[in-house]
């Protein structure tokens, strides 16, 4: 026990001595937490529309006003032909071309139905599907409220018509703002990067400088050395997490809905798993460049698969299984639940078991792979 305390003392001194690392661990994440959510706004607004009105009728101009006033669209141009509209999409100034055909109003009155052509630039999938969905909502609304005088002749038929009205309620995030989704995710990401990179680099640095050999020849036991490395970074990680929560509250006004105790319990276990991951990488690498590359490689995969920016539910089965095999996925899921919805421990205890599992496996592998002698 006494040996362990001495190692801890050494590690803390090393951490506080290196001002750059200290800044990297505190200042950088704070800045990133402030800047990143501003940049990572996936909200689709201001979809640019080119509106081609061949009909030039009352209905078509009503329709255009309806599109304009919906709040999602900006009408950037009123070209005269489809080709001109496509040009606007090609040079990127429009996302959607709406083409009202000639005689649209007439066929609407005579036959009761008409079709409008909509062409969407689908290279950006999210924007295309959301833009399309908004547009059909606008048209559906318009259908419902088509001028009553026009409907007068068929008043008789209206009696039997059934209408179902949909009322939407947004829970947990009434105005559906994107920052609520992003900020907790980014907090987890920063914790992951710091926890993963810094442990990996720290031990490899001792290897590179040769100081690890000095430790290896002392009577310090394997577990003492490893614990001595892990505990300081565990504390650093939880400090960074606390810092992140403060930034989240001060800058974005997001305070965890659920209990802080549950949140910290998860964070503590997650940090353990993460440190095991860093340790494992360091046992495999021989210099800092390699460690950095390997850590970057895995953290990138973890992040992409974690549901941080795309929903896991819509992934194919194998990808969903793969994504549940990384600790990042589970922790992001839980942090969002606790922070935004106020879930309590019994709602998410399964994730807790998963995280403990990761901790045991990763640390076990790392310790097994760590050799005092070459």
């Amino acid at each position: 026990m006494k040996v362990l305390l001495f190692i801890l003392q050494k590690e803390f001194r090393l951490i506080f001595r290196d001002k750059i690392i200290l800044a990297m661990m505190t200042f950088v994440p704070t800045m990133q937490l402030i800047i990143l959510p501003m940049a990572a706004d996936f909200d689709v607004k201001n979809v640019n529309v080119a509106f081609i009105d061949h009909d030039q009728s009352t209905t078509s101009s009503q329709l255009m006003r309806k599109v304009m006033s919906s709040g999602y669209f900006r009408i950037v141009d009123l070209p005269f032909s489809y080709n001109e509209g496509i040009k606007l999409i090609e040079d990127g100034s429009a996302d959607i071309v709406v083409e009202v055909p000639l005689g649209m109003e007439r066929s609407l009155i005579r036959e009761g139905r008409t079709t409008i052509n909509v062409s969407i630039n689908a290279i950006n999938g999210t924007k295309a599907s959301l833009g399309g969905a908004y547009l059909s909502t606008v048209f559906a609304d318009y259908n419902r409220e088509i001028d009553l005088p026009m409907q007068a002749p068929s008043q008789g038929a209206m009696v039997n018509v059934k209408q179902i009205e949909l009322v939407q309620q947004n829970w947990y995030n009434v105005r559906a703002e994107y920052k609520y989704y992003m900020v907790p995710g980014i907090l987890v990401l920063l914790l992951t990067i710091i926890g993963g990179f810094i442990t990996a680099l720290n031990i490899v640095k001792e290897k590179e400088l040769g100081t690890i050999e000095q430790i290896n020849v002392t009577p310090i036991k394997k577990w003492q050395f490893i614990l001595g490395k892990l505990i300081p970074f565990w504390i650093v990680g939880l400090t960074v997490f606390t810092l992140g929560l403060v930034v989240m509250y001060v800058v974005y006004g997001i305070f965890p809905e659920g209990s802080l105790l549950t949140l910290y319990a998860f964070a503590a276990v997650y940090m353990m798993a993460l440190l095991g991951f860093g340790l494992l990488i360091s046992t495999f690498s021989s210099n800092q460049l390699q460690a950095m590359f390997v850590a970057y490689f895995f953290i990138m995969i973890f992040t992409l698969m974690s549901g941080f920016f795309t929903s896991i539910d819509s992934m194919p089965n194998w990808a969903r299984r793969m994504s549940s095999m990384t600790p990042v996925t589970h922790f992001i899921f839980v942090v969002r639940l606790i922070v935004l919805k106020g879930s309590s421990f019994h709602h998410v205890y399964q994730e807790f078991l998963y995280l403990i599992g990761f901790g045991v496996v990763l640390n076990g592998l790392a310790i097994w792979n760590y050799r005092k002698t070459q």
Binding site: D43, A122, V161, Q163, W171, L289, F297, S311, D313, H347
Partner: protein, 368 residues
């Protein structure tokens, strides 16, 4: 010329000696393409949905059946009351709830108007919006079918065409971004580290006193990475063609020459970094923080540029990757010719001339 070739050969030895870095170099694009192509989907499917059915009548059952048949939703066990919905949402598997009032069917048949309440879990806002959009369309169709015969008098329907990407292939948007990112990593990060390593080890001195021209030392450093990037480029294009069905619509020659231009820009950046730093650590940190992060963040392939605050948009104009991304999208995905991208090409060319001049000017022939 012979001297130059032997220097290039030396650089190749360095590159091929470090097997792990080489593996990552080619592993990175392969894994990224696979993940972006197969795992990440921008269209939302399998949304967990629950129902709070206080009506238990025919129309409410029919609507729920419709929802169950749709590929967009997975119906989970029904909720008993609002508190139950709350608690189901807190477990996180269900993102949406449909609530029918007790007299839903009665109102629908008697007065012809009835309300359905949709509760969405807006902690994921886009998911909530898309789910609501799907439900609007689904219930709208149900309503139309109910009204057949006594048809609603006027209906404006739309015919939607998805341009450039009819099957809504989610990877299209990402591939140009992945290419831009990989070039940035390979050229800027690896080149700068390889130059600085020679400085750190002291071998740079040996190279500088050789009869070879000092500037050529730098250029011979860049050659292997240029070739590696081109190989990577071919790998990415082949993979995206065979695995993801992404076809290069425009001219291949144009795409290739634009890519070489961008690679040269990145290499100049790498050389510039290596001139201002003295340790591998610093070179690595600068290329990670100052090059890669902005490339991921501000190029526009992951995060939509138009939503960003103004300062970010201004900064993004200084990034070569932004222009390259626009060019690749235009040539590869939209099939446009040089006429559409000459402006971006000119900017990229200007950038690389500028960076290269600064890098070569600042290259110190003598060690301090």
């Amino acid at each position: 010329m012979k001297q130059f070739l032997s220097f290039v050969r030396k650089e190749f030895y360095h590159v091929f000696r470090d097997k792990r870095t080489l593996l990552l170099l080619f592993g990175l694009p392969v894994v990224q393409i696979l993940i972006f192509g197969y795992a990440l989907n921008s269209d939302v499917k399998n949304i967990g949905i629950t129902v709070l059915d206080n009506a238990h009548d025919v129309p409410s059952q029919q609507i729920m059946n419709r929802i169950g048949q749709s590929e967009y939703f997975i119906v989970r066990e029904p909720a008993a009351d609002y508190n139950d919905v709350q608690s189901i949402f807190k477990e996180g598997r269900v993102k949406c709830a449909v609530v029918f009032g007790p007299s839903f069917g009665e109102e629908l048949y008697r007065s012809g108007k009835a309300q359905v309440q949709i509760i969405t879990d807006a902690s994921d806002p886009n998911n909530a919006k898309i789910a609501f959009g799907y439900l609007t369309a689904l219930i709208g169709r149900y309503q139309q079918e109910m009204n057949v015969g006594s048809a609603m008098p006027y209906v404006i329907s739309t015919e939607t065409r998805m341009l450039y990407n009819e099957e809504q292939n989610g990877s299209l948007n990402f591939i140009p971004g992945v290419i831009a990112l990989i070039f940035m990593i390979v050229c800027a990060a690896l080149t700068s580290v390889s130059v600085v390593r020679e400085k750190e080890l002291g071998t740079m001195e040996v190279l500088l006193v050789s009869p070879f021209r000092p500037v050529m030392v730098l250029i011979s450093k860049a050659v292997p990475y240029l070739l590696l990037s081109l190989i990577n480029f071919v790998v990415i294009l082949t993979m995206s063609y065979y695995l993801l069905d992404v076809v290069v619509r425009g001219s291949m020659l144009l795409l290739l020459s634009e890519s070489i231009l961008y690679i040269i820009t990145c290499l100049s950046l790498g050389l510039l970094i290596s001139n201002v730093t003295t340790s591998q650590q610093a070179a690595m940190l600068i290329s990670m923080m100052a090059m890669m992060l902005p490339t991921v963040l501000l190029t526009g392939f992951m995060f939509p540029l138009e939503n960003m605050p103004l300062p970010f948009q201004v900064i993004s104009h200084a990034l070569p990757s932004r222009y390259y991304y626009i060019i690749v999208k235009a040539v590869m995905l939209k099939g446009l010719g040089f006429g559409a991208v000459w402006k971006e090409t000119l900017i990229l060319a200007g950038m690389s001339v500028f960076l290269l001049t600064v890098a070569l000017k600042r290259f110190k022939v003598r060690l301090a």
